[in-house]
Symmetry: none
Subunit: 185 residues, 4 copies
DNA sequence: GATGAATGAGCATTCATTCAT
DNA sequence: AATGAATGAATGCTCATTCAT
């Protein structure tokens, strides 16, 4: 959507470097990182960032979309698994554990008061809805869990368990409790 | 703890106006709201804000502490209830529903990477720990739910269900699901 | 010039307290001391300062004039002494040693780029001119030392020897050298 | 020591313009000149000033150091002269006459209650000590004049004779008197 | 295309001064 | 008269964005 024609090799490389630097910086410190700092980490000048992304907000979007796309991939993998229930929970855990951008992505997932990254967000939710329906049809998830609840729970768990200090075991334990709430009694 | 000596009537009124404006503004937009904007909303000059709060961060703290104190009150009320299980869940719901400051309070509840409001935060957690233990002793909550999990879940639910558009019924429904995860199977 | 009619006793006392606080504060930190700080040190509210001095600058003037008047007294005492030469040098030393306000008074003594405190400044210089003339007539001071030179030298010595760390002996030694330059060869 | 790598031509030109504007502004009004005013006089935006000098204080330092370095050059020239006595006095006069920044440099020369520009200040004093010693060895300066006295006298004369209105002749005359005090009787 | 210098609006904070209590 | 709360202009500094090199 940003680039309309093939980029020169060095331009593409720079775009990638900027995006990676942005992902890391935003994940660590949120949107308040100065753009100059991102440029510095990417090893380019601020002008170069603007060649590839028209505003800082667009760069932020791009970083989020990048993450969303990885998650869509996760969801599609999960859709191909044999057992819908375990696949669903495994997907959730993976999504949260490898989610990437911290609070900022979570905001995007909720999509209120923040930028719209509509197309990929919608795609991701579509995939998740599919996973949920299959797991419910399979009897692994209670029937009264609506997609809307799931979104909120994912967001919440995502935000709540994203802290530098938490260990994988601790995160898994908290997950297990929340996941239990989603199962049929 | 905040005012050490009686304030003149007009001063107290202004302090209250500033704090209210700050609470609303911070709740809606996070700490990035310009202080001048808060002053404007409170109908005072920026200097007046500084008469009552030495820095913007102090004002932010004060807003959070204000909320924490309300929640401590909720917790103490819940502690006086007869049935520990229902009291526990009712407290959680009330805390989240009437919590006030959005993401910023949640940050404080998690207390990493953010300002410390240590004393009241600690007090609140002490109260919550007490409620949890009584509910567990009563068999209303699964035994393997650790205070640490509870903190994360509260934070997550808090963040996840704080959106302007959500209805009370929707919130209650999501709560119910998460709460079910905390019950013994 | 400020008070046109006798003040009530408490008002006069407050005026004195403010002026003393101002003298000390200005002496220590220059004109940049906040007026509120002076008020605090004087144990009054800032409004009270304004009742006695219409602006901060006026207060600063008043503090300087206060010092100038003490020096005029020194000069008049010196004028009554028997030996004009020693009296002259003793006056200089006393003026510098007990001068009070540091650089700010010095500015006034030079009276460029700063506020005019014309009448008392003029009076002081008149007295000093008299002392100088008598010492020159007596042969204790070289004839080509003009009042203008003397002003500069006083200012310079004043500024140069006003440091918290300097000892009286050190100051006297530097004085002695400069004073020797004023003597006939 | 200031620029560590070659600057673009326009950047160097702007840096120079800012530094010149700062020198003039600080000389005329002291450190209280608003930085925006300096930027305006230099014909640049305030951000540009900050690109070259990280804080206002750093800019102030730079202006002082610039002057100190010129004086060190003067001192080194004087050290190469044949007759130590006249060279010493000529240096003093030149230092004061062409010194540049008024009271602010003088503060640096005295180095109390103000910013340290230690390295160049120390260098300058080392040079001056050398000149003094040679002149004393040559019998042109009284033996009891200590470097410490000299510092004070230079500071004082510097401050005292820096006024917009003074003529060169007047300054020289005042110098002559003070200098006479330094000679052996 | 890339660079990084320049811009300038915006923000937190201070403080002389005014005025309600 | 005194108090001290309120005001708001001013200041140092930041950072998204533009543009000359």
């Amino acid at each position: 959507m940003t680039e309309t024609r093939p980029l020169r090799a060095d331009a593409r490389r720079n775009r990638e470097r900027v995006l990676n630097a942005a992902r890391e910086a935003f994940a660590a410190e949120g949107i308040s990182v100065p753009l100059d700092e991102i440029a510095r980490r990417a090893g380019v000048g601020p002008g170069t960032v603007y060649r590839h992304f028209p505003t800082k907000e667009a760069l932020f979007h791009a970083a989020i979309v990048d993450n969303l796309e990885r998650m869509i991939d996760f969801a599609r993998e999960a859709a191909r698994a044999d057992e819908p229930g375990p696949a669903f929970f495994a997907f959730l855990e993976r999504m949260v554990a490898e989610g990437g951008l911290k609070r900022d992505l979570a905001e995007a997932l909720g999509s209120h008061d923040t930028v719209e990254c509509s197309a990929p967000t919608q795609q991701l939710w579509d995939e998740i809805d599919g996973l949920l329906r299959r797991a419910q049809d399979d009897g692994a998830i209670r029937a009264d869990l609506r997609p809307t609840d799931l979104k909120r729970i994912i967001r919440g768990v995502f935000l709540a368990t994203h802290s530098p200090e938490i260990t994988d075991d601790e995160r898994r334990h908290t997950f297990a409790i929340v996941f239990d709430g989603m199962r049929p009694r």
